[in-house]
């Protein structure tokens, strides 16, 4: 290599290095700050407040580093680079516990937190004691397996000890009617990029519940028409930071569903059963019943009976509940993550002879103290 070539290469290297550093510096200084990260579903750090006290305690600089990381230009693209470095260069099996098989994203949940399950069952019992102990309410329960249940073993990933989890739930709820759901689902019944099940795939689940609750009705595809919403990026999409195809979110509708009214006790307003515009929002799954809500009531003026169904639920029930409404004039949805058990009676009166369904997915039951 000639001396001249060497000098050109040296110059290019130094200029490239300085160019990247200065380029990002200028871009970071002049790009407006973002308020939220859609991919992580959280607020991003803002420029820290300057004060002499903050400066000399070192807190200002510590907060500035958090801010600099959060507001870095092309942050999501760089996270994608990082994800591919882990998968393609280092051949790591997961990135932040997210793994991908055939474009389908899964999240490893491990290990089983037995105390968390016990605590959740304690919350169930407290609710039953407070509201249904001396009533004619019929109590049912089921546990929705998370997507990892159907994938971890076959793909060599870690997973919860599901047998133990189900055994613990059943032993602590043995006085009530159990609804088995595991045999009704497969990994294809969940979205590619999200933790939730696809509404199109849960008619068998809805039917088993309706059957167990003795409603006398059964649903079939012919009962519904479908609406498909493209560009659905589930919660794992942002976390994985990989270039996988987006989902299409499809929901069932028919005359009954279209005539349902949903009352949100938090905002004291009616909300739609499906909000198609939410599909491209922070959480696309918010299409169903407005997303995370503490207390909702779905009212069905065309119901075949006056029965009331109370579902103690998580987000999985947002897509399930509209399918269960046929037989009920009122379906109450209570999310104990956002509403304390003791507070429910201040907001709503539950029927003496209602049906009560406890229905949570395994990820929720495995989080200690998630219920208020």
């Amino acid at each position: 290599m000639s001396n001249k070539t060497a000098k050109i290469q040296q110059f290019l290297l130094v200029a490239g290095f300085l160019g990247i550093l200065v380029g990002f510096l200028v871009a970071n200084l002049f790009t407006p700050d973002q308020t939220i990260s859609k991919s992580e579903r959280r607020k991003l750090k803002t420029m820290p407040q300057f004060s002499t006290e903050n400066l000399f305690s070192g807190q200002y600089f510590s907060e500035f580093e958090d801010y600099a990381m959060d507001q870095f230009v092309l942050r999501d693209s760089l996270r994608t680079v990082n994800a591919y470095m882990k998968y393609a260069l280092l051949f790591q099996k997961d990135n932040n516990d997210i793994y991908v098989v055939n474009n389908r994203l899964y999240k490893m949940e491990y290990p089983l937190n037995e105390q968390a399950v016990d605590k959740a069952m304690e919350a169930y019992r407290k609710l039953i004691q407070n509201y249904f102990a001396d009533t004619k309410a019929k109590i049912y329960y089921g546990v929705i397996p998370d997507k990892n249940y159907y994938a971890a073993d076959s793909y060599g990933y870690l997973s919860l000890d599901y047998d133990l989890l189900y055994e613990k739930v059943q032993s602590q709820m043995k006085d009530y009617t159990y609804i088995e759901l595991r045999d009704l689902l497969t990994r294809e019944d969940y979205y590619y990029t999200d933790l939730h099940w696809d509404q199109q795939a849960i008619l068998p689940v809805a039917n088993r519940i309706l059957e167990t609750l003795q409603t006398g009705s059964a649903l079939s595809f012919e009962d519904f028409s479908t609406v498909s919403l493209p560009n659905f990026r589930g919660s794992y999409y942002g976390q994985a930071a990989l270039l996988v195809p987006q989902d299409t979110l499809t929901y069932f509708t028919n005359d009954i569903i279209e005539n349902l009214t949903v009352y949100d006790y938090e905002t004291r307003k009616e909300i739609p059963v499906y909000d198609a515009s939410a599909v491209t929002g922070v959480d696309g799954y918010n299409v169903f019943l407005g997303g995370p809500k503490a207390l909702l009531e779905i009212r069905n003026s065309n119901a075949k009976s006056d029965r009331q169904l109370v579902i103690i639920r998580d987000s999985f029930s947002s897509s399930l509940a509209p399918l269960l409404c046929t037989e009920y004039s009122s379906v109450i949805l209570i999310d104990l993550r956002y509403l304390a058990t003791d507070y429910i009676k201040n907001l709503i009166e539950l029927e003496e002879d209602c049906d009560v369904l406890f229905l949570h997915n395994t990820l929720i039951l495995n989080q200690y103290g998630i219920f208020k």
Partner: protein
């Protein structure tokens, strides 16, 4: 401020490098000093004064030593400098260790001091001491310009994690250094290699060790993997920082000494310490071991010298008995190798010597990595199957598989394999030409990968998002 942070890489560094390049030569030291002060102030606002005070003390004592040289008072400023520098180090680093031990031994109840350790004090103290001693010995010229001396002490590339730069090795460059595109390019390459070692290899190895440390999932295999991951991590962490320091120094026109020379290739513990943290090893050799008489003394004195040096080496690494025993652990091996083990090893095939070194170095880092001797004992017991742990479990196997390529890459980069490969390429003119241009893409790619990894550091997803 850490090198492996967004604030450093994309705010501090570009501003400093550009400012340094555009100011005239006479202002370059001022730029370096002010930026170093800010760099230190970022991490240790209050202790910045301590660092400047330490530099001032070294500077004034240097002048006094020079002035009183060849008089009967020559040793006074030397001793004074040592007392002040070591006094500050002892006070900030070792006070609580002494108090804890006094309390334990005499069953007293002295309250511990609410002190945090000033970052870099262990490094800059040794630099100041070596300067004053060198001036006293006549090995270094006295520095009469405080800005130049303070620049040397506070120079941000090596301030936090070395290498321990002796004043005499940079005394010419402090005031009269030249800058060339070749040096800058070499500096950039070295800096980026260090960044790669620290951010990609060391940080990921640290994550593996941390993941495997989950109490409920421990197994014999996981303990071995933790120890191996930590042994690799500490090398890439430390040598990565040294590379970054040497690289940035080179960019600014300084030629710092090498600090690591593929230590895990050693065939004896003595050789390991000639390749590991070289600037520290040579510092203790030149300022403690040799002044005590080195090995040109009677056996008992030589034995004492070894113990003193390795006691201090261990103690320098941290104020806990673990570090002291870590130092003495090496003293034992160095003594044994000098007495008979070295001869035995020289007769063995190199493979067995490497196994011997790697095994005992790995154990040494288990000691280094634990907070107490009890924890070290428990860990060791578990490694050798004495803690009733399973041989392995699904958790361990999953993470070993997941990090296997990283581990293999780390082993590869802990050897000069990459240099041998490139040397092979250089033999062919066409390949050498392609390689020389390809490097221009590889280094920016390293910077982008590191940036991606740093930015991902704030990843913190919320599954359920409610404003």
């Amino acid at each position: 401020m850490l090198f492996s942070s967004v604030s450093f890489l994309y705010y501090f560094l570009p501003i400093v490098l550009i400012t340094y390049l555009i100011v005239p030569n006479k202002l370059k030291n001022l730029v370096l000093f002010l930026s170093s002060l800010f760099f230190y102030f970022w991490g240790e606002p209050i202790y910045s004064l301590l660092m400047v005070g330490s530099a001032l003390s070294g500077y004034l004592h240097g002048l006094l030593v020079e002035k009183l040289k060849n008089t009967k008072y020559a040793k006074v400023p030397l001793i004074s400098a040592l007392l002040i520098s070591l006094g500050l180090l002892c006070f900030f680093k070792y006070s609580n260790f002494f108090l804890e031990n006094i309390n334990a031994f005499f069953r007293s109840d002295f309250a511990l001091l609410k002190l945090s350790l000033p970052i870099g004090i262990s490094f800059y103290t040794l630099q100041v001491i070596s300067y004053v001693i060198d001036v006293y010995r006549g090995d270094a010229k006295v520095q009469t310009n405080f800005l130049s001396f303070a620049t040397y002490v506070s120079l941000f590339p090596q301030l936090l994690a070395g290498p321990i730069v002796r004043y005499r090795t940079v005394q010419e460059e402090i005031d009269h250094r030249t800058h060339s595109m070749e040096d800058m390019a070499l500096g950039v390459k070295r800096f980026l290699r260090g960044l790669f070692k620290k951010c990609i290899l060391a940080n990921t190895l640290a994550l593996l060790a941390k993941t495997l440390q989950t109490e409920a999932e421990l197994s014999v295999l996981s303990l071995w993997m933790i120890s191996i991951a930590f042994t690799l991590q500490i090398y890439f962490d430390f040598s990565g920082y040294s590379d970054m320091a040497i690289g940035l120094g080179r960019f600014f026109g300084f030629h710092f000494m090498e600090n690591f020379d593929f230590p895990y290739l050693s065939k004896s513990i003595s050789e390991f310490w000639r390749r590991w943290h070289i600037s520290l090893g040579t510092w203790f050799r030149d300022y403690i071991y040799i002044p005590l008489g080195g090995n040109r003394v009677s056996f008992p004195k030589w034995f004492r010298n070894i113990l003193v040096v390795w006691f201090l080496t261990g103690f320098w690494h941290g104020a806990s008995w673990n570090f002291i025993f870590w130092g003495l652990y090496f003293a034992l091996f160095l003594l044994l190798e000098k007495l008979f083990l070295g001869k035995w090893l020289s007769r063995l095939p190199a493979f067995f010597c490497h196994i011997y070194v790697l095994f005992f170095i790995n154990i040494s880092f288990v000691l280094f990595n634990q907070d107490t001797l009890g924890a070290f004992g428990s860990f060791l017991k578990g490694m050798f199957g004495g803690a009733s742990l399973p041989l392995t479990n699904a958790y361990t196997l999953y993470y070993v598989r997941s990090y296997l390529v990283l581990l293999l890459l780390s082993v590869f980069f802990a050897t000069p394999g990459i240099y041998k490969l490139t040397a092979l390429l250089q033999r062919n003119k066409v390949l050498a030409n392609i390689y020389s241009w390809a490097r221009l893409l590889v280094y920016p790619a390293i910077l982008i990968l590191v940036t991606a990894s740093l930015v991902n550091g704030s990843f913190n997803p919320f599954l359920y998002f409610r404003f």
